[in-house]
């Protein structure tokens, strides 16, 4: 091996860079340095996730259990966030509510990613009439108020947890589909795809092994923001009373609180505050990622 080659090998050998996952982590750590918003969002979210995980350890009542305290007790040591109309401990339910929000957010985004990627990929890769038709549908779906559609679906199909996740998932695919199509259109034209066709790879392999790994990074920040939207939609549905009564939900707590705004401010204040913090965290994280990944924005 020539001297130059050995040198290159030495650079290439910076261990962690070899693995994509670690590479991402490395990039992420660089993002921390240059982007305070990203850092703030990351820390907020880390705390929120930890709270959701350890909820059973740091609460002292079962979730949703009624009459653990005197109804309408304002915040006291035993009930830091107060007690609601049915004697449920708000602190407990808020912590379990974080779990619900995050579960709904992540699961429904997985659903919408699956649908959106499928539609975007088919449209972007195959083109032609299929693409025109799919993009027409996508444009329509983008204009129809997604919140109302999700509301109607859950109202008609039944107010349970799965239906809420599925409904939010199937109304929020259009943005992802549009983005995916754009990515596919541009990656499809790159020479390594032609090279892949030249060695006779199947369409399936070209789509999943060649294009998709190159298209995914672009939609990650978007997916983060989409989690956010999903959490807000779930809360909004809950606020209007569309929720699974057997699952603690921050939105549903605000719905209950609405009737007692004059009497018990804490019933509205704490669930909404925590909800806002989750959403702020995710927004900061998503915006930070977009800014970091887009050098044109970063320069300013």
């Amino acid at each position: 091996m020539t001297n130059m080659n050995r040198q290159r090998t030495a650079y290439a050998g910076i261990g962690p860079l070899k693995i994509v996952g670690l590479q991402l982590l490395y990039k992420t750590s660089k993002a921390f340095k240059v982007n305070p918003r990203f850092t703030a969002g990351f820390i907020i979210l880390l705390v929120v996730v930890i709270l959701a995980i350890v909820a059973p350890l740091i609460t002292w009542y079962p979730p949703l259990k009624t009459l653990v305290g005197k109804p309408f007790t304002p915040p006291v040591a035993l009930h830091p966030f107060g007690v609601d109309d049915l004697g449920r401990d708000i602190y407990t339910n808020v912590l379990y509510g974080i779990r619900t929000s995050l579960t709904v957010g992540v699961s429904s985004v997985i659903i919408s990613l699956a649908i959106g990627i499928l539609i975007g990929v088919v449209a972007g890769y195959y083109g032609g009439i299929l693409e025109d038709a799919l993009m027409r549908i996508t444009d329509m779906a983008l204009i129809i108020p997604q919140f109302l559609l999700a509301l109607v679906i859950v109202a008609i199909f039944g107010q349970n947890f799965q239906n809420i996740i599925i409904a939010i998932g199937i109304v929020s695919w259009p943005g992802i589909a549009r983005m995916m199509r754009a990515e596919f259109l541009s990656i499809k034209e790159r020479p390594f795809i032609e090279a892949a066709r030249a060695v006779g790879l199947t369409d399936v392999r070209i789509i999943f092994e060649e294009i998709l790994p190159n298209a995914i990074p672009a939609i990650i920040p978007y997916a983060v923001l989409q989690i956010n939207t999903a959490i807000l939609v779930e809360a909004g549905l809950g606020f209007l009373g569309i929720a699974d009564p057997n699952v603690p939900s921050l939105g549903l707590m605000l719905n209950t609180a609405q009737q007692y705004l004059v009497r018990a401010w804490w019933m509205a204040f704490f669930p909404g505050l925590v909800l806002s913090i989750i959403v702020i965290g995710l927004n900061l994280l998503g915006d930070g990622l977009i800014e970091y990944l887009n050098p044109r924005l970063r320069k300013r």
């Binding site: 080659n5 290159r8 032609e194 199947t202």
Partner: protein, 329 residues
């Protein structure tokens, strides 16, 4: 040396429509490849030379059906390529391979070398993962990436330009192609490694001379001379001269060939001084509205009236074919 034609190209045309079709007005076309025919025997090697925009790469891609032809026929080992459906074509692809201009761009940046080469076997053979690995290791050794184990888990961006081109070559020869097209195989590389890649290509050629045919595409006729026996000279999608490379360099017949040859730097100043120099004049005309008659006439120092009227056909002159009125009658 075998003598039956391995590749037969007949009147291949590739026109690209320009702009949108507007009602009542006929579409305009760019004639990227216009009526090209040639054959290559087993063991044959053909260069295609011309300036950028002459349709060399388009021709190669049409032959491999990476682009759909406008008309014409291509036979590989007797099989009519343009009549195959997608599935049949895909099965045949390993037999006709291409090495692309830019090795960096033609390797997936997010895949390791092992995957990039291994997927060829995964798609076209039923051999298991362990054997695939062995085959990939063999290939890497064959293209001079040693020790091969060091490269398997690398990403393209971790390699040098020459190493990347070696990976591309390994991928192309993975399933013993009968036809290998190299499109500007060294132009994206540092000058220092060009020689090594040329040597590697020659090695592979000589090792498989009984079964393979080569096409090398380049703007550089000197490179073609070191890799091929015969060459086509292309200008604006048409063949203007065809013959042995050595002969064309010694005595170019078509004025365009003369122009190309005179632009080769010659190491010996003595020869250089005595050589007839034809200055490259003018610009390549627009492909959308090419000039009438011989496409070269606006730049040709020997232009005659009839050059402006009608395209000269390819005629036999001595040991080659040339399309120029200077040699008719």
């Amino acid at each position: 040396m075998g003598t039956h034609p391995l590749l037969k190209v007949e009147n291949v045309k590739k026109y690209f429509p320009v702009g949108r079709a507007v009602f009542g007005r006929s579409k305009q076309y760019v004639k990227a490849v216009d009526d090209v025919s040639f054959t290559i025997d087993v063991g044959g090697s053909l260069g295609i030379v011309g300036e950028s925009g002459s349709g060399k790469t388009t021709l190669a891609k049409v032959i491999l059906r990476l682009l759909e032809p406008t008309s014409g026929k291509v036979y590989l080992d007797g099989v009519d390529l343009f009549s195959l459906n997608n599935k049949e074509l895909r099965k045949l692809r390993p037999k006709m391979q291409m090495i692309f201009q830019d090795p960096m761009a033609s390797l997936n940046p997010r895949r390791k070398i092992m995957h990039i080469i291994g997927q060829v076997f995964k798609t076209h053979t039923s051999i298991g993962d362990v054997e695939i690995r062995e085959r990939v290791v063999d290939l890497l050794e064959k293209v001079g990436l040693t020790p091969p184990e060091l490269f398997l888990d690398r990403y393209p961006h971790e390699l040098s330009g020459g190493q990347r081109q070696r990976v591309c070559i390994a991928r192309a020869i993975a399933l013993n192609p009968k036809l290998l097209i190299a499109d500007e195989p060294v132009s994206a590389l540092d000058v220092s490694v060009r020689g090594q890649i040329v040597k590697l290509l020659l090695e592979i050629y000589e090792k498989h001379i009984d079964e393979i045919a080569y096409i090398v595409i380049s703007h550089d006729i000197a490179l073609i001379k070191s890799l091929c026996k015969d060459t086509l000279v292309m200008y604006l999608g048409r063949v203007v001269e065809k013959g042995e490379v050595r002969r064309i360099i010694e005595e170019p017949l078509h004025p365009y060939s003369q122009m190309l040859i005179s632009s080769i730097p010659v190491p010996d100043p003595e020869i250089a001084r005595n050589r007839k120099r034809i200055p490259i004049g003018g610009e390549i005309p627009s492909l959308i509205n090419p000039p009438k008659g011989c496409y070269f006439h606006p730049r040709c120092p020997y232009v005659m009236d009839r050059c402006r009227e009608k395209t000269p056909s390819l005629i036999n002159v001595d040991d080659r074919l040339v399309s120029c009125y200077l040699y008719s009658e």
